[in-house]
């Protein structure tokens, strides 16, 4: 498949992830959309690595995955602590700092 297909897919996946973060109510689904964005970036990196014939892009994907794992763990821990306080996952309810 040509490079443009992979990058086009990566772009669409990224935008779907952004839409998920902007539009969804459930905070957990927002987290999942962030993972979707990271995934899209991984596809782009791997495609460019193949395009240039080197492996640096794949190494970068490896590190992105490790960082995504760390971020998911800590983010979910924060969210659990928050949930214990507010008893809801609806992000529109987290409005203590609104004017």
């Amino acid at each position: 498949m040509p490079l443009a297909s992979y990058i086009g897919l990566s772009a669409v996946l990224f935008v779907i992830g952004v839409l998920g973060v902007l539009l969804k109510r459930n905070a957990l689904v927002m987290f999942m959309s962030i993972e979707l964005m990271l995934n899209a970036v991984n596809v782009a990196l791997a495609a460019f690595a193949r395009h240039h014939g080197g492996l640096d892009g794949q190494i970068f994907v490896f590190f992105v995955m490790a960082v995504a794992a760390a971020e998911a763990a800590v983010g979910l821990a924060i969210f659990i602590a928050l949930f214990r306080l507010r008893k809801t996952t609806d992000v529109t309810e987290f409005n203590l700092m609104r004017w």
């Binding site: 990058i7 772009a11 935008v15 109510r25 957990l28 395009h51 190494i59 960082v67 602590a81």
Partner: protein, 172 residues
């Protein structure tokens, strides 16, 4: 059309559809399952790009561990599916979707203008993307980020345990 192109096209379509369904679903658990499907199709795409180690790591780490963590948290918290699908009203949601489409069009236009992006990618040597070659790079050129990532994972582990601990509130 070779088997590989067929597989890549199938994986692309599956990735797109599952990503859309992640955002479209009301229930968080079903969203998580569609995200697992998306991660699986991206693993297939890594395979067609010659990254076999990467595909295996994607399945083991992303689909096999991170998403299990997500499912765990969703099931522990057990939120009821919300009445409304999206956080904002229909006008804002429609506008955002429209902007998204415009953004994708701009990105794809930008990519098509890259030299050599329209033709099939050139073949790579044997052992491209193999565990050995990635291991060699990780432990020579990228040793410092590798070790730092180890420390990062340790910090994340400790942080997650501390943050999710039950606090014992003192009664005033």
């Amino acid at each position: 059309m070779s088997l590989e192109t067929l597989l890549a096209s199938f994986a692309t379509v599956m990735a797109l559809v599952s990503a859309l369904l992640v955002v479209w679903q009301r229930s968080a658990v079903v969203s998580a399952l569609f995200l697992v499907l998306n991660l699986g199709s991206v693993a297939i795409l890594f395979l067609t790009l010659g990254g076999e180690f990467l595909a295996a790591v994607q399945v083991i780490v992303y689909a096999g561990a991170i998403m299990v963590l997500f499912l765990f948290v969703i099931m522990l918290l057990n939120p009821a599916p919300p009445k409304q699908r999206f956080a904002s009203g229909p006008v804002v949601t429609g506008l955002t979707f429209g902007l998204g489409v415009v953004f994708v069009a701009a990105l794809v236009r930008g990519v098509m203008s890259l030299a050599g992006s329209g033709q099939e990618m050139s073949a790579v040597g044997p052992g491209y993307g193999s565990t050995r070659s990635i291991g060699e790079l990780l432990f020579t050129d990228y040793l410092y980020p590798f070790e730092l990532t180890g420390v990062l994972l340790l910090v994340a582990m400790v942080g997650a345990v501390v943050l999710a601990r039950r606090q014992h509130h003192e009664e005033v």
